[in-house]
């Protein structure tokens, strides 16, 4: 049993597995239980340090966050003792007293979903079209691909600060200057359209990733298929939307999934561009958590918000994942 059937058994077909088993159990089948135990121990020795560190730094704190979310715990009120508060922290955000006054939490939730959703849609639609464009064999197309990939690796605070000062600024930025040159009055986009600004910046930063992944998908389409498409006289529209797009749908879903996971937790860019403002118009859930801890000092409520952020992430990822599984089942 120490033999190679242990290796990635799950990745190998069942036939191969059983034949290995037959071959080697006959030759080394006499291995006693003791040797097997030590072998297993060796394998866990490789795995456990990583598991322990990751658990201590991420999983345990997350469990604590869940516990904190049930406590009444306000750092600026040390006179009130920490006490169990049931689901009051969640209720504080979720409670709707009257329909005319929908609590702030729902608009923050909506903004989070809106920013993430619109960014992902823009990234996948425009990213797909740009990937199609970059799929052409043009001299030096690699330079263009490389240039377009650049923004993905820029730290979010740098891109936020740069866009805000050199582009969106109404007097000194490119936007202001160009608007004045064509005789229009530039409006302060960062204050008047904070969500659009954030969406544009997120899209700018994440589209390169979509292009990269989708381009890899497009280049994986076998050349003879493309040739037979041409011979059969398929027009551009049919070729792209009924043949190429379905073929790279899995790449698209992976890009959307990863984009979702990373965009939903983005914080720095919002802090440096709009700082959540005006008011709470461009708050997202992570930003609201930050404000609850460091401005309101309310650990209990902040933890409740953090837990709801995780729930939202898992919910959306789960929805996407299910659609992937369903599609795979349909095609197999």
């Amino acid at each position: 049993m120490i033999c190679p059937d242990s290796f990635r058994a799950d990745l190998r077909s069942m036939d191969a597995k059983t034949s290995y088993e037959k071959n080697y159990t006959s030759t080394i089948g006499s291995v006693d239980g003791k040797t097997m135990k030590t072998l297993r121990k060796t394998d866990y020795r490789f795995l456990l340090p990583a598991v322990i560190v990751v658990a201590v730094m991420t999983q345990v704190p997350f469990l604590l966050t869940i516990i904190f979310s049930t406590l009444r715990w306000n750092l600026s009120r040390p006179d009130l003792s920490r006490s169990f508060d049931n689901v009051q922290n969640f209720w504080y955000f979720l409670k709707i007293d009257s329909l005319s006054e929908i609590p702030e939490f729902y608009s923050i939730l909506w903004q989070t979903v809106l920013i993430t959703g619109v960014t992902l849609i823009l990234c996948s639609v425009v990213g797909f079209l740009l990937a199609l464009l970059l799929d052409h064999d043009i001299p030096g197309v690699n330079i263009a691909r490389t240039l377009m990939l650049g923004p993905f690796f820029v730290m979010s605070t740098a891109s936020g600060v740069i866009w805000k000062t050199t582009i969106f600024n109404t007097t000194f930025g490119w936007y202001g200057v160009i608007m004045k040159a064509i005789g229009l009055t530039p409006t302060d986009l960062v204050s008047y359209h904070p969500l659009s600004v954030i969406i544009v910046l997120f899209t700018w930063q994440w589209m390169p990733f979509f292009i990269l992944v989708l381009l890899a998908g497009l280049q994986g389409i076998p050349q003879d298929l493309v040739d037979s498409m041409k011979i059969d006289g398929v027009n551009w529209f049919q070729g792209v939307f009924t043949i190429k797009l379905p073929l790279i749908m899995n790449h698209m879903r992976v890009a959307v999934m990863l984009g979702l996971v990373f965009i939903i937790k983005e914080f720095g860019l919002i802090l440096v561009t709009t700082a959540g403002g005006p008011g709470t118009r461009s708050y997202t859930l992570p930003y609201a958590v930050y404000m609850q801890v460091f401005s309101a000092n309310n650990v209990g409520r902040a933890s409740a918000l953090a837990v709801m952020t995780v729930i939202l992430t898992l919910l959306l990822v789960n929805l996407l994942y299910r659609s992937i599984v369903k599609r795979n089942e349909k095609y197999n």
């Binding site: 033999c3 242990s6 290796f7 799950d10 990745l11 190998r12 297993r40 394998d43 866990y44 490789f46 795995l47 990583a50 598991v51 560190v53 990751v54 730094m57 991420t58 704190p61 997350f62 604590l64 904190f68 464009l133 197309v141 330079i143 263009a144 490389t146 240039l147 990939l149 650049g150 923004p151 690796f153 730290m155 979010s156 605070t157 740098a158 600060v161 740069i162 866009w163 000062t165 050199t166 582009i167 490119w174 200057v177 990269l212 998908g217 790449h251 879903r253 992976v254 937790k265 914080f267 720095g268 802090l271 440096v272 859930l285 930050y290 801890v293 902040a302 953090a306 952020t309 898992l314």
Partner: protein
């Protein structure tokens, strides 16, 4: 229209092809340059004086003064050094933990046959966890342990968050290695440790290096934990940039120069890893 010879037809087709190629080429280049423009302009603005940088222009008399000034600023060095410490320490330890774990997940025999998959999935779900979900307990622990504002505290958090990414990427590179080599090694009495260091590591070298570079870029760019777990003396570059305006006011040239210095390493490393990035991040998922 008169009869055309085959030569004429060929020529028109070739001309059309040529025009199409160059037309597309120009569109692609214009889009690429416009897309890259904010970064390019930031890079250029660093060569301006503060007076020149106020109005947006592309053509100007370049000067190295601003870059010199930013680079001779001791606080900039401090942030640069903090960032480098985090990147080198964080990436190094994440690799030390993640690579053997990925090896055990791909080639190891765990308690049950399904354990490998379960642990792998567990690492993946950790990637989904947003840092806000761990910030509060980490913050309270660090305050009790006096780890707040220390490079070690931040690095520990980075290791926790980036080891799963190493496992994820390296797992897909290890899965590519031919199983037969390890079977042979196993029969020849090669220990698991030797298999890892003498066979798996050299064979998956490029993949592991690109995973390392990608994690380095992630840590270099990480903001949320850095912002909340460090103070001024231990802050990293992204935090410095975020605080730039409140601390220094609006100096576009200086800001551009320091941002350029902050993002250049990440962009260059990123460009180097682009192929492996797609493969490592999407392979497992695309295969389904």
């Amino acid at each position: 229209m008169g009869e055309k010879t085959i030569g004429q037809v060929q020529r028109t087709i070739r001309r059309r092809h040529f025009l199409r190629r160059w037309g597309l080429g120009i569109i692609i280049y214009v889009i690429a340059i416009l897309y890259f423009f904010p970064i390019l302009y930031m890079f250029l603005s660093g060569f301006k004086t503060e007076q020149q940088a106020v109005m947006p222009t592309i053509f100007f008399k370049p000067t190295l003064d601003t870059y010199k000034m930013v680079l001779s600023d001791p606080t900039m060095y401090q942030y640069l050094r903090n960032s480098l410490v985090q990147v080198i320490g964080g990436t190094g330890i994440s690799l030390l933990l993640g690579v053997p774990a990925a090896f055990a997940l791909v080639f190891g025999k765990l308690k049950h046959d399904s354990s490998n998959g379960k642990y792998y999935l567990w690492f993946i779900t950790t990637i989904l966890l947003p840092p806000v979900a761990v910030l509060i307990p980490l913050f309270t622990w660090y305050q009790q342990l006096h780890l707040i504002n220390t490079p070690f505290g931040l690095m520990a958090a980075y290791i926790g968050f980036h080891t799963p990414i190493v496992v994820w990427m390296v797992h897909s590179f290890f899965s590519d290695l031919p199983l037969e080599i390890f079977e042979a090694a196993n029969l020849d009495g090669c220990s698991k440790k030797q298999q890892l260091f003498l066979i798996a590591l050299p064979l998956a070298r490029t993949g592991i290096i690109s995973a390392a570079l990608l994690v380095a870029v992630f840590i270099w760019n990480e903001f949320f934990l850095g912002f909340n777990l460090t103070g001024n003396p231990t802050a990293t570059l992204p935090v410095y940039l975020a605080r730039f305006r409140e601390q220094q006011g609006m100096f576009v040239a200086q800001l551009s120069a320091s941002s350029t210095i902050a993002i250049l390493p990440a962009i260059i490393l990123g460009w180097m890893t682009q192929k492996a990035l797609v493969k490592g991040l999407t392979m497992g998922a695309v295969k389904g």
